[in-house]
């Protein structure tokens, strides 16, 4: 793990059917290795799937772009 960094993230995810945990981990995992995450808000929308706000910290190799948070 050379050059490892911790990156804060703020993501929004439209909920799909299936495992919610796997959806969140896939979304967070696209930015690095998930270290800590939580769904911190849920926005209900008429005629549309709920929009989830996710806050997270990921491990990255230090070459990724700046934080989304």
């Amino acid at each position: 793990m050379s050059g490892v960094q911790l990156r804060p993230l703020l993501l929004q995810l439209e909920r799909q059917s299936g495992s919610l945990r796997e959806q969140v981990e896939a979304a967070v995992g696209a930015h690095g290795t998930p270290l800590r995450w939580a769904i911190t808000a849920v926005q209900q929308r008429p005629e549309m799937p709920p929009l989830l706000q996710i806050e997270a910290v990921v491990l990255s190799d230090g070459t990724s772009e700046a934080s989304d948070a």
Binding site: M1, S2, G3, V4, Q5, L6, P8, L10, S19, L20, R21, V24, E25, L35, R36, W37, A38, I39, T40, A41, V42, Q44, P50, L52, Q53, E55, V57, L59, A69
Partner: protein, 357 residues
């Protein structure tokens, strides 16, 4: 009432740094944990619930498992193996001033002499860890670590030297004049340190596969005559370390889920998620990895009224839960599940059965 039914392993999750009325301060969920341990006969919970700085409670029915390991346990990736005693290595941040460092070493010596804990060796990081604090968009406490590799190097050194669990003490920024700290001490704010603490212990536990927990090193605060009792545990001494050393001293080993069952050092079999009969969490904070993993496995989720910053409820997530108005009610529900009593039978009105079409 003493239950004669077999224990019902139960998870208690009170997320760190979200300002929970119960569990958002200095180990102030410990009475709830003790009650739930008595009701279930086996409670698995995390340091945020159990750590009261100089105050702690050791109960063989309570398994002390760091948050990210708890998530992996809930996901079926880890087993918990009870042990008689861990050898707790002490990892100190090089950013701690010499006098404050000495205070921590004396606490560790006190725990050896007075409580009989096996502590050591001690390793100081090769550079300051550079902890910084931050709040997320929701107001939840997060935090950063400028030198994660220095933490990992010191952790590996301790593991190589025989430590089977690791207590980390990192120097946290003093903010004795901040409004957030004043609010916290008076019982109306978020624990600003909690998020960074979680990041540190998650990183170390994940990389080393050992039980880990963290205590912040801070300068003593000036006296606050309006101190909330829930924050008082952190004002009793020079360090927050005793609870961490006691918790880790009997924390279960973390085994990969593929490990064959064995009796273990404490003569107890290892514990897997399939044995868990309930998970308890604040009703507004159900969007964490452990709760979702349990819900997806069909483990009953008891959602307790425990006001916090978040409103990530069962309704918002489409989860089926058993609602409880308090920890006391949750303990009654756990006892009912342990005794094989359907919780619905305890509520009124009791709707009649309907034939399935």
């Amino acid at each position: 009432m003493i239950s004669t039914a077999p224990p019902l392993p139960t998870l208690l999750v009170i997320p760190t740094g979200i300002g929970c009325a119960v569990g958002g301060y200095a180990g102030d969920a410990l009475p709830a944990a003790r009650l739930l341990a008595a009701a279930s006969g086996c409670l698995i919970t995390h340091p945020n619930v159990m750590n009261g700085a100089a105050l702690y409670w050791s109960d063989p029915r309570i398994h002390y498992v760091e948050g990210s390991s708890l998530d992996r346990f809930a996901a079926g990736e880890l087993l918990l193996q009870p042990v008689r005693q861990q050898r707790v290595g002490l990892l100190l941040d090089a950013g701690i001033e010499p006098e404050l460092r000495q205070r921590h070493l004396q606490v560790a010596d006190g725990c050896r002499a007075t409580l009989g804990l096996d502590i050591g060796p001690v390793v100081i990081t090769d550079r300051p860890l550079e902890v910084s604090l931050s709040l997320g968009a929701s107001g939840v406490s997060w935090g950063q670590l400028g030198q994660p590799e220095a933490l990992l190097r010191a952790g590996r050194q301790l593991k190589a030297a025989g430590a089977t669990a690791i207590a980390v003490v990192a120097r946290f920024p003093d903010d004795s004049d901040s409004e957030a700290l004043a609010a916290y001490r008076q019982g109306s704010g978020v624990d600003a340190l909690a998020g960074a603490e979680a990041v540190i212990s998650h990183l170390l536990s994940r990389e080393l596969g050992l039980p880990c927990a963290h205590a912040p090193a801070l300068s003593p605060l000036p006296l606050d005559p309006d101190l909330d009792p829930r924050a008082a545990g952190e004002e009793l001494g020079f360090t927050f370390l005793p609870c961490v050393l006691v918790g880790l001293s009997r924390a279960p080993d973390l085994l990969p889920a593929a490990t064959p069952p064995c009796g273990g050092g404490a003569g107890s079999p290892s514990l897997g998620i399939e044995a868990v009969g309930a998970v308890i969490a604040p009703a507004g904070a159900l969007g964490g990895a452990a709760v979702l993993a349990c819900a997806e496995r069909g483990i009953p989720v008891i959602a307790v009224h425990n006001p916090c910053l978040l409103e990530v409820t069962a309704e918002a997530l489409g989860l089926e839960v058993i609602a409880a108005s308090s920890t006391s009610e949750a303990a009654g529900l756990v006892l009912a599940l342990r005794e094989g009593i359907a919780p619905a039978a305890l509520r009124r009105p009791l709707p009649p059965l309907r034939r399935q079409d």
